[in-house]
Amino acid sequence: MDSEKSSEHIETLLGDALELYGYDFTGYSRASLKRRILRLYVLDRFVSFAEFRYRIRTDAIYFKRFIEQITINVTEMFRDPEFYKALRTEILPMLGTYPFIRIWVAGCSTGEEAYSVAIILKELNLLKKSLIYATDINSRVLEKASQAMFPIAYMKQYSENYIAAGGIENFSDYYSANYSLAKLNDELKSKTIFSTHNLASENSFNEFQLILCRNVNIYFDRDLQLKVFELFDDSLENLGYIGLGSKETLEFSTISRKYKKVSSTKIWRKISE
């Protein structure tokens, strides 16, 4: 793709995605999105922008690949252990006093964060009265998420993260090895519902006591971030919590006056309606 015109081309493709498929990426940060699209263009060996665009416009199956490749699905279990330690020691015990706990993991990708939360809930004896709604824009990653199978080579890192996050059990008890894959115990997904949800265009679908949306907003521009925070505010009970990624904040947003940071990590509590 011609470097000089690539920015224009990107806007054309975003227009196509919205017009033909109803996917709105226009609120995404351009630098990262552009890098992902150019990467896909090279990876799939297109020879011209026209050919790339034609394929996207006419081949709905290829468009699925487009979505899968331009959104970022890199994740880990217990990534940023300090955050999970705060969930374990401060937030979830507080929510444990409720009769029923509803958690939304927004932008869950292949499910590692949702399963990490499920493990902590289980260890706190709260899993039975909890429901985790794990959503993502991308239906393919959700299929992977519901399979609960991850490369066994990752387990060493996950186990280290788990211990750093205050885990006290034997992490390997949570999965069974199957050749090169580790399959998480079924119990861990017994309370999780995986479903597609597009933060850029869909509304609130339930009310929660905890919303986790970590390293998702960094891909959105400020306007879309504001919109997403308002969606979260609409979806959060009073005194509920929002957890964000380690470089994200809601301080700039219109909802910030209702929220108070309650932990040394990125967790805020809703203190007024």
Binding site: S3, S29, R30, A31, S32, R35, I72, V74, I218, K247
Partner: protein, 189 residues
Amino acid sequence: MKQCDALIIGGSAGSLDVLFQVLPFIKSDIAFAIIIVLHRKAGNDSILPGLLNFKTKLQVREVEEKEKILAATIYIAPSDYHLLIENDHTFSLDRSEKVNYSRPSIDVTFQSAAEVYKDHLVCLLLSGSNIDGIEGLKRVKYFGGKVIIQNPESAAMPYMPAQAELNVDVDKILPINEMADYINALSQF
């Protein structure tokens, strides 16, 4: 060369010591931002900005996402994120796959900045034993920016700047003791 709006410094093994030697001599009224992308182990600690703060009169900040890029400020790429530059001269962060086994990757920042700053960009590649940064420097040249490298002979790990010298049309090769003067002079363009 047009006026320099941003100097991006990329470094890997052996580069922190170079920064400790050079930053104390950078003037506090430079007309451009300094953006530093260093390879280091992922972790929640943000000790690097503190360490560098001791060495300079300039303000040192670890990048916050969507932050506006200002002159006479030193920005540090946070660990475990790629750092990109938007057209409106704000930062974006990205937690996608590692590039050249690195996150932050120097290539990612150089490539992203190359298109935004074009001939208002200077990139400096320091010591390292990786090839991260080389592809990025090619983009910087393509868009009219300026490429300088640490003299490999003065580098604790010469491989990275040596690869740049072999593969990129480098504008200037600098030993450590000439870097501060060169950087200060970029304000005069």
